[in-house]
């Protein structure tokens, strides 16, 4: 499969000097990964593990206090190669929405609250379409119908729509130009289970139809199981495991992944589930060595001293754990 996105040794830190305390939050710490054309790549991990930060960095949507410390992000849009951090702001601007759309976290609240939704479509997409307004909105209407949204809703204000409708609206907005790469940050969180299911199915359908690549973030493993082709597990700013979805669920390698998959209760399975003690590390002062080791049931001597590298243990499978890879690397 051809790569659309290549990320190498990406480090992005929040540098905050706040009221007397100089803090550096290493939210993305040395992450490399690639995403294929037409692939749905899922990122999972607990809250504040750096998922959002990672995709912000990929999308080039950084603003202080976040800084990219090292590494690069390359796209292969339209056959060429674009290094997002080597581009001029205008060039980056030109990529947006046409080739790359980004649905931010909290996508229920990303529409301008004081203007009708119609205007958002004009602002975001009309520029890129060399057609008249009337034809443009005809196209929009068709697109909305595909997402089971009434085109009349264009004349509503965002607050007049339910959360699910708003999220679908945002997805419609992000997909109207059929970009090559779509990034979505928790697009279904806080949705009703039934609505969530609808939205997810729809995302999948559109993605298939358009052949776009998707980078998908959520901490809900159930969602991943439904949507993602491949999953990367993030823990405390690092990628700790990466595997095709089926393999990850059936045979998780990293102890954290194992816990993540194993602790979730299932209907029809009343067996007792263990709970993991401790709390996620503070990214301003992460533990030495493997960041998971204080909570790890399999921790070894070395875990607190050396950082386990992300090792390819099988085709398409990478994991960063001494317990799996041994400490020879």
């Amino acid at each position: 499969m051809e790569n659309l996105v290549e990320i190498q040794n990406l480090k992005a830190y929040y540098r905050a000097f706040l009221y007397g305390v100089d803090r550096e939050v290493r939210a993305v710490d040395d992450i490399s990964l690639t995403i294929g054309r037409g692939e749905v790549y899922g990122l999972a991990g607990e809250s504040s593990s750096g998922k959002t930060t990672l995709i912000k960095t990929i999308a080039g949507a950084i603003r202080p206090p976040l800084r990219v410390v090292s590494g690069n992000v390359k796209f292969h849009f339209g056959g060429g190669t674009q290094d997002i951090y080597a581009m001029k702001p205008e060039e980056r601007m030109a990529l947006r929405w046409k080739h790359l759309s980004y649905i931010m976290q909290g996508s229920m609240n990303v529409l301008n609250p004081v203007r009708r939704i119609r205007h958002s479509f004009t602002d975001f997409a009309f520029r890129h379409m060399k057609v008249s307004k009337a034809i443009f909105f005809e196209k929009v209407a068709v697109h909305l119908q595909r997402l089971k949204l009434d085109p009349h809703l264009l004349d509503a204000y965002p607050h007049e729509l339910s959360g699910g409708m708003r999220q679908r609206m945002t997805i419609a907005l992000a997909t109207i130009l059929t970009p090559e790469f779509i990034i979505a940050d928790e697009p279904t969180t806080a949705l009703d289970v039934i609505v969530q299911r609808d939205v997810l199915t729809m995302i999948r359908d559109i993605q298939r139809e358009m052949g776009s690549s998707f980078l998908f973030v959520t901490h809900d493993m159930g969602v991943h199981a439904t949507v993602s082709d491949r999953i990367g597990i993030v823990y405390a700013g690092r990628l700790v495991e990466e595997a095709p979805t089926a393999k990850l669920f059936n045979m998780p390698l990293h102890p954290y992944t194992q816990h993540l998959v194993g602790s979730l209760p299932k209907i029809g399975d009343p067996s007792t589930r263990p709970s993991l003690e401790g709390r996620p590390p503070n990214l301003a002062m992460p533990p030495e060595g493997c960041r998971f080791h204080p909570r790890c049931p399999k921790r070894m001597e070395i875990c607190s001293q050396k950082v386990p590298p992300l090792v390819t243990v099988a085709p398409e499978r990478r994991v960063a754990c001494f317990a799996v890879t041994g400490d020879q690397v």
Binding site: V193, H219, T226, A246, G268, S275, R279, P280
Partner: protein, 251 residues
């Protein structure tokens, strides 16, 4: 013998909790009225029709004394542990306040209050030492939620109302809380109304379940029975929509 706990809510919702300690889950789509039911059970919202009965008597809260008496029996667990404590105040303050305000007889002094708080904290797997003098931001979400539960335990209530107590905490902490509920029921003989979106945890922890939709109960019964084989159409849709956290090849 103690009478029964009959609860009536907005859209002709009636259900009851028996004398035996139990965990009752209320599940349903967003906006189906779960929180409203919770608010009514807690006496925060007055039912416009029907009544709430507790220990055989209709609950009527007119005076402060009546309210205190009621709060002694029914306590809430709030949804977001990070929000449940005033960030400007130490968390132990709520433990001590509760201890002072709800103990029978004369107000306990500082030492007694501490003892009561410590005892409550033990039930949730914490000690006063870990908590004392700390501000909310110094504790993890799981710890905070457990402190909140400990606080609710101090008046020795017979019923806890937990409105989505785990939806805001991490997957890794979620099970800790849910497991705690199970323990509290068996150790303290406490009944818990557990409101959630998450059918899986409801299935995991509760004895009975109520499935709500648009302010009405569509199905109820033993949790396992209902969820293993939902009868109502909506219940089935709900169950189907649950995205199993294992790879079943949906995609």
């Amino acid at each position: 013998m103690l009478g029964r706990r009959l609860i009536t809510a907005v859209n002709d919702v009636s259900f009851e909790l028996g004398d035996e300690p139990e965990i009752l889950s209320i599940v349903g789509e967003s906006g189906s009225g779960k929180s409203t039911v919770a608010a009514m059970i807690l006496g925060q919202t007055e039912p416009s029709e029907g009544a709430l009965q507790f220990a055989g008597k209709t609950v009527a809260i007119h005076s402060r004394a009546e309210r205190t008496a009621f709060m002694k029996e029914v306590q809430p667990v709030l949804q977001n542990p990070f929000e449940a404590f005033n960030p400007l105040k130490r968390v132990d303050r709520y433990l001590f306040e509760t201890a002072r305000n709800f103990s029978a007889g004369k107000r306990p002094d500082r030492q007694q209050a501490e003892k009561m708080a410590d005892a409550a904290l033990h039930h949730v797997g914490l000690t006063l030492e870990e908590v004392k003098g700390r501000f909310p931001h110094e504790l993890s979400g799981g710890q905070l939620q457990r402190v909140a539960i400990a606080r609710a335990l101090i008046p020795q209530p017979r019923l806890l109302v937990a409105d989505e107590p785990v939806s805001m905490v991490d997957a890794s902490l979620r099970m800790a809380i849910v497991n705690l509920f199970g323990r509290l029921k068996s150790e303290l003989g406490l009944s818990i109304i557990y409101i959630t979106h998450d059918l899986a945890t409801a299935y995991y922890v509760s004895d009975n379940i109520i499935i709500m939709r648009k302010g009405e109960i569509v199905e109820r019964g033993r949790a396992r029975t209902v969820l293993d084989d939902p009868q109502h159409e909506y219940s089935r849709a709900l169950k189907d929509a649950v995205l199993a956290a294992d790879f079943s090849g949906v995609g």
